[in-house]
C-alpha cells in the first residue's frame, strides 16, 4: 500500500509542468466570419512588379490554407480556394484604409487578395497589409489582403515558401487574428525562415474564434456567445453529472450487495 502510494505521488510530481501561449485580435473586439467555411479569391489583374500571375497566387493560397489553417483539430475553420475575380481597378492602386476618399472599396464576401501599388499603404519593408473592411457588429463579411506590389517591394526577393507564409499570415489577420508575441507562431509580426506549421498561439486563436462543435455540441450550440465568461458553467454542470453517473455505479453495487 505504501509503495503504491509513493509511486502514485512520484508520478503526480513528474507530470506537473505548465505551458500554453497567447494570441490577439485584429480589431478592438471579437469579429469573425459567420460561416467558418471562408473563400479566398485573387484579383484577376496581373501584378505590376511581382512576377506571380493570379493563377500562381491562387496556388500559393491553396498551399497556405493546407499547410497552415486547414489542419486545426479543435477549430471549425476551413479556408477554401476560390477563383480569380474581376474587381474594381481601385483595389490595385488605392490605399488600404477603412473609410474616406482614396480607400479601396468594401469586399462583398470572403477574402480578396490583390497586388497593390499604393505607396501610402506600404512603408519600409512591409510585405503586405490586411484589412477586414466589410464588418458589421461582430461579423466580418469581407476582408482585403494587399500584397506589396511597389517597385521596391521586399516580396520581390522572397522565396515561394516565404510568400506562402506571408499569405497565410495575412489570412490570419483576415479571419480576425492579431499578432503574437512569439516567434514560433505564424502570427508573429515578422517572417522567419523555417515556418513549418502553426504555432500554439495561432492554433488557440483559431480555436477561440472558430471552435469545433462536434457531437451534441453542434446541436445545442453551447458556445455561441463567446464573449460571455459564464459559458463554462454549463460544461462544469455536465462534468458534475458525469461524476454522479459514476457514483451511481458505486451505489448500485452497494444496493445489490445489501440485497
Amino acid at each position: 500500500m505504501e509503495k503504491a502510494m509513493k509511486i502514485f505521488l512520484t508520478f503526480i510530481l513528474m507530470t506537473i509542468t505548465f505551458s500554453a501561449q497567447a494570441f490577439t485580435l485584429i480589431g478592438s473586439d471579437i469579429a469573425t466570419y459567420k460561416d467558418p467555411n471562408i473563400k479566398v479569391y485573387v484579383g484577376s489583374q496581373q501584378c505590376t512588379n511581382l512576377a506571380d500571375s493570379p493563377e500562381e497566387l491562387l496556388d500559393l493560397v491553396s498551399e497556405a490554407n493546407e499547410r497552415f489553417w486547414n489542419g486545426i483539430a479543435t477549430s471549425e475553420l476551413v479556408l477554401e480556394v476560390g477563383s480569380t475575380k474581376s474587381v474594381d481597378a481601385s483595389f490595385y492602386t488605392d490605399q488600404i484604409c477603412n473609410t474616406g476618399a482614396g480607400c479601396v472599396p468594401e469586399v462583398d464576401s470572403g477574402i480578396l487578395i490583390v497586388c497593390n501599388t499604393n505607396g501610402s499603404t506600404f512603408g519600409g519593408n512591409v510585405l503586405a497589409v490586411t484589412l477586414p473592411n466589410n464588418v458589421s457588429g461582430n461579423t466580418i463579411h469581407g476582408s482585403v489582403i494587399a500584397l506589396n506590389d511597389t517597385a521596391s517591394s521586399p516580396l520581390l526577393n522572397d522565396s515561394r515558401d516565404e510568400k506562402i507564409s506571408v499569405i497565410a499570415h495575412e489570412i490570419g489577420h483576415a479571419i480576425g487574428l492579431g499578432h503574437s508575441n512569439f516567434k514560433d507562431s505564424l502570427m508573429y509580426y515578422a517572417n522567419i525562415d523555417n515556418r513549418e506549421a502553426l504555432g500554439q498561439d495561432d492554433w488557440d486563436g483559431a480555436t477561440f474564434l472558430y471552435p469545433k462543435e462536434q457531437g451534441a455540441m453542434a446541436v445545442c450550440g453551447t458556445i455561441e456567445d463567446i464573449s460571455n465568461p459564464q459559458n463554462g458553467s454549463k460544461l462544469w454542470f455536465s462534468m458534475a453529472l458525469m461524476l454522479l453517473i459514476l457514483a451511481g455505479f458505486h451505489l448500485t453495487r452497494r444496493f445489490k450487495s445489501l440485497n
Binding site: E66, T207, L209
Partner: protein, 191 residues
Amino acid sequence: MKTLKMILLLGLCAQTMAFYKSWSLGVGALSESYGKIQTDAQGNTNGLDFTPFFKVQSLSDFYLNHQLQLELATTLPRDSRDSAVNRMNYWFNALMSYDLDFIKIQYGPGMYFTRLSMDGTAQELPNGNSTKSFATPNGSTVAGNLVLSFALDAPIPTTDLTFNSQAMILNPEDSDERAVNILLSLSYKME
C-alpha cells in the same frame, strides 16, 4: 440540454447493461496534438508535453468478454507564457476493455473539450515598422471534439496501480484535421 440528455442516456444505458466492478482515481500527463504545432523558430514541432491531468474511472463487466471503462478526466487550468490565455482540457471516454491477462486492450469513443479564456488585456506588439496595441478577447470559449481512443492498460504487479497509455484521435475521419493526443497515466484502484 441535449448534451446533458445524451450523457445521462449513455450513463443509464451503460448501467443497465453492465455490472459494476470497481472504480479508481488516476493522474497522468497529456500531450496535445502531437507533432502538429511549431514550437520554435527552427521549425521543430511539439513532442510530449506532460500537461498534468486527473481522472476518475469506473470499470464494469460488459458483453462479449469485454469490460466497460468509463472515465472522466480534467487538466488543471494553465496560463500562457505571457499569462494572457488560460487553457484547460477535460474529456469523457467510454472505453471497451478486453483483458489479455497481463494487459488490457482498450478502445472506444469519447468527447474532448478545450476551454480557452482571456481577460481582455491589450498587448503592445510590433506591427510593420512600429508597434500597435492589439486587443484580446474578454471571455471564454469551449471547443468540443468527438474522439476515438486506443489504449493499453497494464497492471503493476503486487500493487493496486495500473499504468495506462492512450492515443486519443481527434477528427479520425479527416486527414487534414486529424490530431493525436498522447496520454500516459497511473491509476489507483479504490475498491
